[in-house]
Symmetry: C2
């Protein structure tokens, strides 16, 4: 590490005894040079620790090693967790991921895409805002940049879609709730940000019909991404007006359920499976926090690893030349039984 101030690749090539174009080739892909050359360069690298100027590098390269990872809201632990997972997969595969959050704002989402465009990324892993997204802007972006859509699907844009099977989620947990107690009613936002919410409601309706029960949907008001508060306030209203038709409530997602649990607590209603409990509450998502609610939340969890891996691998293979047609992959969730239902 006696780095004698190597200023550029020219100098580094000189001290390593290898020509600059070959060194350039090495940095582009170490496997592309002979093993003995690689060893020479790498031993020189240990002595001088030089790093190529990324700006000069990316200026002329047809394809950078940059990847974009875009999530709608990084302060949501679900997206934070999946972003972390994706980021590490990208690094492991030799790419340079950059993390972006739309912060729940459609205008910001468009800006993020513009920024991303100027980064000339090799590819992008994009979880759109959903309903609020500027569809046209997304489409145009996907035409220019290899983009894999995940989490929430918006038409057939991009290379492919990878997400969870929301129909399976809801039908599976509805089935569980029906088998273990009263059939559930469904607690959701009236105008959800995410299109998955519609699939979940539909799946609830289908499942209830299938099992011969009368479905009942409670849709609560509320805009934005403060789901817990929407669930809490909506929960208070619904409880006050006695709008829950059964003692079992299936929430459209965990964050809503967390808010509802708080509302129940605040009204002195005991939630759970015990003898002394009034109602059962279940969520959907396997939110990182769901383990620590009181009572711990019964939910159906995304397979974070599988979604991340499928998404990342699809993008990588597309970048590396695989030209398979658009495809939607929806992975099943796993029921997580806890005390709330």
């Amino acid at each position: 590490m006696a780095d004698n101030k190597i200023r550029n690749m020219e100098e580094f090539a000189r001290v390593s005894g290898i020509s600059r174009p070959t060194v350039s080739k090495y940095f582009n892909d170490p496997e592309s040079v002979r093993a003995s050359t690689r060893a020479t360069i790498e031993s020189a690298l240990e002595l001088h620790d030089y790093r190529p100027n990324i700006y000069a590098m990316n200026q002329n390269r047809k394809l950078t090693k940059n990847l974009g990872v875009v999530v709608p809201l990084l302060t949501d632990p679900y997206f934070a967790e999946i972003a972390r997972n994706l980021e590490q997969r990208c690094i492991a595969a030799g790419y340079r991921p950059t993390l972006f959050s739309s912060h729940g704002d459609p205008a910001l989402e468009v800006e993020v895409l513009e920024t991303l465009r100027s980064l000339k990324p090799a590819g992008v892993l994009l979880a759109p805002l959903g309903r609020a997204s500027d569809q046209r802007a997304l489409e145009r972006f996907c035409e220019d940049v290899p983009t894999l859509i995940f989490d929430s699907s918006v038409d057939e844009i991009g290379l492919s879609f990878v997400g969870s099977d929301n129909y399976q989620f809801t039908s599976h947990i509805t089935d569980y709730l029906c088998r273990t107690g009263e059939a559930p009613c469904f607690f959701e936002m009236k105008t959800p940000a995410n299109p998955n919410a519609h699939r979940r409601r539909q799946s609830y309706l289908n499942a209830m019909k299938l099992y011969g029960h009368t479905p009942h949907v409670i849709s609560v008001e509320g805009e934005g991404w403060g789901f817990e508060e929407i669930g809490r306030l909506g929960g208070h209203d619904a409880l006050k007006e006695d709008r829950f038709s059964t003692n079992t409530i299936l929430c459209s997602n965990d964050r809503l359920a967390i808010g509802l649990l708080t509302a129940c607590y605040e009204r002195g209603i005991k939630v759970g499976r015990g003898e002394d409990c009034t109602i059962r509450v279940a969520g959907q998502d396997g939110h990182p926090h769901s383990r620590y609610t009181c009572p711990p939340l019964t939910t159906i969890s995304h397979d974070y690893d599988a979604v991340s891996q499928t998404a990342a691998d699809s993008l990588f293979s597309a970048i590396e030349g695989d030209v398979s047609p658009w495809k939607s992959t929806r992975l099943e969730g796993k029921l997580i039984l806890r005390d709330s239902a």
Copy 2:
């Protein structure tokens, strides 16, 4: 937006009728050109929507407009929230922030700094991992890049430090707890990741002495960043062995408190201020989730906005030439009274 494929600044300068060096000057700082010229350029910009190549831009510029924002763990909603806040301030100030997370891993933290170095950022807002950080690596980085340290202080490195006043946090909430019930015992991790934890324990000890009470600290085992689980398991143990000396527990941080609340629930212990409650639990941090625990968590909250603003503004003024000496700013927290204590 009839963008007739502007390929570079040369072409854009031609169509806008302004010379390229002036256009370059404009993109570097729009205020640096005459208002009439600015108007000319901006109207051309609307017609052709050209964006300078950021790689070519940053290659020769002495100082880029890039900023780094580094947090120890982006999946922690506290850091996610503060990162979001900082990011938006950077954008508003005309910089290009890039978000990094060390994911709780010291080796990754060093890697992030290396990556950051090659981005030649104008400055960095860095929240170190803390105890686990590679001190030497941090120091060397701070020597090369204008870095403002926030959240957790590590020696007097970087431009300055901005964070919360942990002494005030703990003494304030200890005072509150003493005045409203039994004096608290202190629930913490034996080997905390964050140096703030030591300040909090010390402040607890001081405050208890001041008020003439006997302090009692319960330190629980557990490594890593899964604070909720550490709090839950440690809580179970402590409850089982009856190690809490009073009916009031002040937790070193909210995530630990959240885990403890879950443990209490699981043991059928009622937490809160009500007649029927056995113990009181309080946290520290004002974690985004603390509003939705059951019962809602009494805590003392970081002033997110003030911390972010002070940190961002300090960095900006340092970048713009202010050479004030190293300084530590510690902002007071606000008590948030809820039902748990």
